[in-house]
Symmetry: C2
Amino acid sequence: MAKMIEAEMASVSREVGAFIESMLGRKDPLFKSAYHLPSHGGKRMRPYLVVKSCEAVGGERVSAIAPAAAVELLHNFTLVHDDIMDNDTMRRGVPTVHVLWGVPTAILAGDLLFAEAFQAILRSALDDRRARAAAAVLADATVSLSIGQFQDMSFEEKDEITENDYLDMISGKTAALFQACAEIGAIAGGGSEDSIKKLGAYGWNLGMAFQIFDDYLGITSNEEALGKPVGNDLREGKKTLIVIRGMQTRSREIIKSLLGSKDATKEQLAALISSLEEDDVLGYVRRKALAYVEEAKKAISTLPDSEPKKSLTQLVEYSIMRKK
Amino acid sequence: MAKMIEAEMASVSREVGAFIESMLGRKDPLFKSAYHLPSHGGKRMRPYLVVKSCEAVGGERVSAIAPAAAVELLHNFTLVHDDIMDNDTMRRGVPTVHVLWGVPTAILAGDLLFAEAFQAILRSALDDRRARAAAAVLADATVSLSIGQFQDMSFEEKDEITENDYLDMISGKTAALFQACAEIGAIAGGGSEDSIKKLGAYGWNLGMAFQIFDDYLGITSNEEALGKPVGNDLREGKKTLIVIRGMQTRSREIIKSLLGSKDATKEQLAALISSLEEDDVLGYVRRKALAYVEEAKKAISTLPDSEPKKSLTQLVEYSIMRKK
């Protein structure tokens, strides 16, 4: 199943990639730095979500390509800026934009990606009503993303972060854009208010599951699959659900010794993982992600059955089965 | 005349300021940092340009307020990010955002302002056609702004910058947004394609005049009026038209000795200004700005006469008569 949906995602990715290349593939050095991250692909789950949501309401796939490119551009904009803020040096197996071209150019490359995201929707063939509505959803989501990223950064300085704080943060940082993707797809496809709302709820729950599982992979996967070192979140002192939950168990001491420690070794991480597994922290986090998966499926259960709806069900299952 | 238009601008500024406060005036720390720069005003020429362009095509002032707030938010976004890139510590008489809250928060505050700019237009009462068209113009302008800022930064590392390079750079960095303001105002007011185009040409020429005169003020004005130290551009090694032109005169040696010199004194700057005046460099730059002023007036000469058209004529004259 994972293979099938990965192949489907790859097909959407190629179409969206060609669209993005047509916007950014210029020799100009600023465009080169802006195109660096999108040209290295990534899973492109968000554009896939736009396309399938469009098709799930009976829309033509072609109407979804420009909006799908828009959300991917927006996503890449946030990654470029987040990598500066978080001092991350690797992403998608290549050095980050600010490492290659310096902070000023990386700020500007992100800004350019942001502007191009709006251009992609607003200069598309969508009619005025759909283009306006889709762009408005994207603008709202960007506000949420900024708030979420700010919360994420401020967590590093705070001692007491609860599970609810964490869920609120990832709702803004991740789930808001997944929700926006599904809504934008449904808008582009001419869906009813009701179906836009249902797909939005689906997207939000998918985003929650995705982020929880992403944090989980960040500590349990391997560097080759991730394209960046395992345990980076921990080294940076990020308060993920694993950390928050783990602090309430016997794993507390080992977490405290490793959290924010830049030179945590692979051996120390392995010991931590054993301890977390033993204390049912990893199990708890997996179950939490699974609960959002179930909610996502429920949200679209009353939409008419169709091939794209099946793909959305597979997508949400994939979100917690993937290796990267 | 300057007094009259300043009073008119102040009135628009209050309306737009209230709108911006309604969007950003929250206790949340991210919103506080985003609101820092807009809350310290500035001239707000850009929103004034939106309002007057709207009225000049027969539109209601009320339709222009949200788009006017949008361009001001967008302008402030670029200032917050530019100040990081240029290491500027003061603006509008107060410390810059990254000085007060650090670079990561300043990047994010800028991103939030950017998103709010699009929200302001896309969530406004404008009909779908106008909202979409206005937002598309704003997105295009932001692409130009990014390219212009990138050119500006790269000039610092290049030895040979021609007058044409400079004009091309300020076209992107400044004139594109002035053009967008006039077009957005005309779109919001329901103007014809022809009047949108004419007002756009007016706005572009106004922007060129404004930026040339801004660079001129940056060296000839005083710190109190500017809200930042005189000669900052020179200390940062910026290749303004004054520098480019001056390098072709006897002022060459004194420019070479001061360009990029962080500790250039007020006395050295005074000597430079005398030399530039003597070599007719300042006169040349003033005449250049004046030529764009004339082009701007010509661009709207065939629009029907009206009070708002008179204001636009005064605005472009003001752009090269102001003290700050």
